[in-house]
Symmetry: none
Subunit: 423 residues, 2 copies
């Protein structure tokens, strides 16, 4: 770890009041980690000008890099530029580079630049501009008290892009003698954080001391993060990653940031096969996860949201008798849903779900959280009954992910399936 003292200043009444939980600072830390850097301190204050001025002044005295987040917006409570102007004693002006960037943004979206937009270009004269590829507020930077200060927007997607495209390259150039640092991430599904940790500790007892293993619950997935902090440690990383994969087998979705929907779509594209969805309790969530992936039109043509019993019959031909006899949440019904969707859409694969998301709808033998899943092709349809007694939205999210995972396992020919308990 280098001597670089990086500090963060997060601003906004909404994060002070707790109305918003700050996840931007975790995102910034994640970006910094990719350079082997980590923040040493972070300070959060509201939108009071005097607090902003005093914190910028104080933090810049100790830090070698200060990343300020928030307060670049068009409204009155956005006071970051005003505070900086006082701190570095550089008058606010219509900054030509910033104004040009805002104009270009408005032109792209085809609307006229108003005064509020323009305010985002009124910045201290002496700052440099950071491009905002995802929004109207330019970022900016300057040097003060031997501290390199960055000013970034509070909207996460805008911050994320600015960290990648502008700030990391500048930091990399500046702190050229950063120690080597390699991180590998594995995305894992269908096993909880604590079971995961126990399993890895048991099966890889000789884990080397100079390599960190970390876990991050990124619901519904868990991320395993392996980090080496020296050249010597770096060489072991690939071998260890392989070992982890061998231990976790089918739980591993992939490396990097890959999400279940993307891994499934990629697999289907490779195999030139197609999928259809027929959803009751998830109400379209499985389809929307698949179609959130660019290029999914090559593998997905139709999704059926058969929420009512009547529509299970009309849309995919579930027989009324089956519905009456077994109820909508039953093995028989999900099988007919899957068969019907395969026939109507002429897809290679189908996944069907019917369950009780709650809070209403439970019966004595089918409590909230019960769900039947069917998946397969025209030759062979498998089923499973699962139970996830979560809140409605968490239930839907987990069931949708399980649906994707079952098809992924099928395509990969993985034997067996997990219990899918999240803990």
């Amino acid at each position: 770890m280098t001597q670089t003292n990086i500090q963060l200043l997060l601003t906004g009444d909404e994060i002070m009041s707790g109305d918003i939980i700050d996840s931007n600072s975790a995102m910034i830390a994640d970006h910094l980690a990719s350079l082997g850097l980590r923040p040493r301190k972070k300070v959060t204050v509201g939108d009071l000008l005097e607090d902003l001025v005093s914190e910028m002044q104080q933090l810049s005295q100790r830090a070698s890099v200060l990343i300020v987040n928030g307060g670049l917006g068009p409204t009155e409570d956005d006071k970051t530029a005003e505070a900086l102007a006082q701190v570095i004693n550089s008058p606010l002006c219509e900054h030509p580079t910033a104004i040009a960037q805002i104009e270009a943004w408005c032109e792209k979206l085809n609307y006229p630049m108003n005064d509020a937009n323009k305010k985002q270009g009124i910045l201290p004269k002496d700052v440099g501009i950071l491009e905002n590829t995802n929004g109207s507020a330019p970022g900016f930077y300057c040097e003060h008290n031997n501290c390199l200060m960055f000013f970034t927007p509070g909207v996460p997607s805008e911050l994320n892009a600015m960290m990648t495209h502008s700030i990391l390259p500048m930091l990399e150039q500046r702190f050229a003698n950063i120690e080597p640092h390699t991180t590998k991430r594995l995305q894992v599904f269908g096993i909880g954080e604590s079971s995961l940790q126990l399993k890895l500790r048991k099966h890889i007892p000789d884990w080397p001391n100079d390599i960190d293993m970390g876990f991050r619950a990124a619901y519904p997935q868990v991320e395993v993060k392996v980090t080496a902090h020296s050249k010597q440690a770096e060489e072991k990383i690939d071998g260890l990653t392989q070992q982890i994969k061998q231990v976790l087998k089918g739980h591993v979705i992939g490396e990097g940031e890959v999400q279940l929907p993307e891994s499934l779509v990629t697999l289907l594209i490779e195999k030139q096969q197609t999928i259809t969805t027929v959803e009751s309790c998830t109400g379209g969530l499985i389809a929307s996860k698949i179609t959130s992936v660019a290029g999914s039109s090559a593998v997905f043509g139709a999704g059926f949201v058969t929420y009512s019993n009547e529509m299970k019959t009309t849309m995919v031909g579930v027989s009324e008798t089956t519905l009456e006899q077994y109820g909508a949440v039953s093995e028989e019904v999900v099988i007919e849903m899957a068969q019907g969707a395969l026939n109507k859409s002429n897809s290679d694969w189908a996944v069907a779900v019917s369950g009780i998301a709650g809070p209403g709808g439970a019966t004595d033998d089918k409590p909230v959280g019960t769900v039947w899943v069917a998946w397969g092709d025209k030759v062979n349809i498998k089923t499973v009954k699962l139970f996830f007694p979560f809140t409605r939205v968490r239930f839907q999210e987990y069931v949708a992910s399980v649906g994707l995972d079952l098809i992924r396992r099928e395509l990969l020919g993985i034997e067996g399936r997990p219990n899918y308990f999240p803990k």
Copy 2:
């Protein structure tokens, strides 16, 4: 607002690295808000002893109350007590009250107290003890630099109970003349933060000084927050909220935390009407938003995800000629999609979308971000062409929300519709 200057110190390598997102400080702020108090500043550092000592020292000089969270656990990296011992110059000892509390806890859970448990009772001699009803680590408090300092556990359930049972009562007693504090929130859609502020400033020029108005972008909605900090101000809040509603008209979705899908489902339930969705570019997201609301089965029976051209024909009967002549992203096609879905599902209302989510699929006259929306009932279907040149996922999110909003406006009989520009 009182003169109470409350500050928070959050500790732990895992929150500095971003592996854990800090939600404890939001919980503390929430508790404080119940007394009309709000924290003014929060500082986060890792587990370095020198950083802990220096922050406790510095923060206690300015704050009247300092709440420290984390670092009370049994492991080596828990250094809060050690740091405080240095700060207040009070030697660590086996604190009798703390040890007694830990013994009682172990007895309750029926396991012997080990050295790791005992470490949690080794505290500076001069602190008072706060009961931990949910765990083994006692909290503690002391006074230093005229600052009342509390030390609380990092486990959320333990912190929560300690705030309720020990810290709030002590603060209430101490700051007896706390002023009242009332907040009202309005959820707004289809107008950007900057236009919103300009509009309110123009139409409510005599906004009172003793009431705060804040804005929060909670994509795709914006929240307007009106806060009174005195008894006198409190009385104006309802009137001002009414004024805001009059100015923003149909943009206001509702009060509190309400989201678009919930407001639409509530409206449909009130009117005893049903809705169906037929989605191309949003791929099921509109349906999944509707069905994320508990009780939606009363108003939603079927959703059609007609992603391919062929399925637009098979599932909802869009004519092949129309598709050939105008292309899938066209007014003619979304009208036929809506009509087909209304017929197949026998719903009262339908919303249909077809667009280019990107990154692929653009043509010369239909760039990425183009979308056609149709909405209406069996008698009257309206259409609009919109353009949202965002990333794929943001585009889908916004289009889905617009779809819900158009039906909401229709049900409320609101004339006209917004431009739906997000800024």
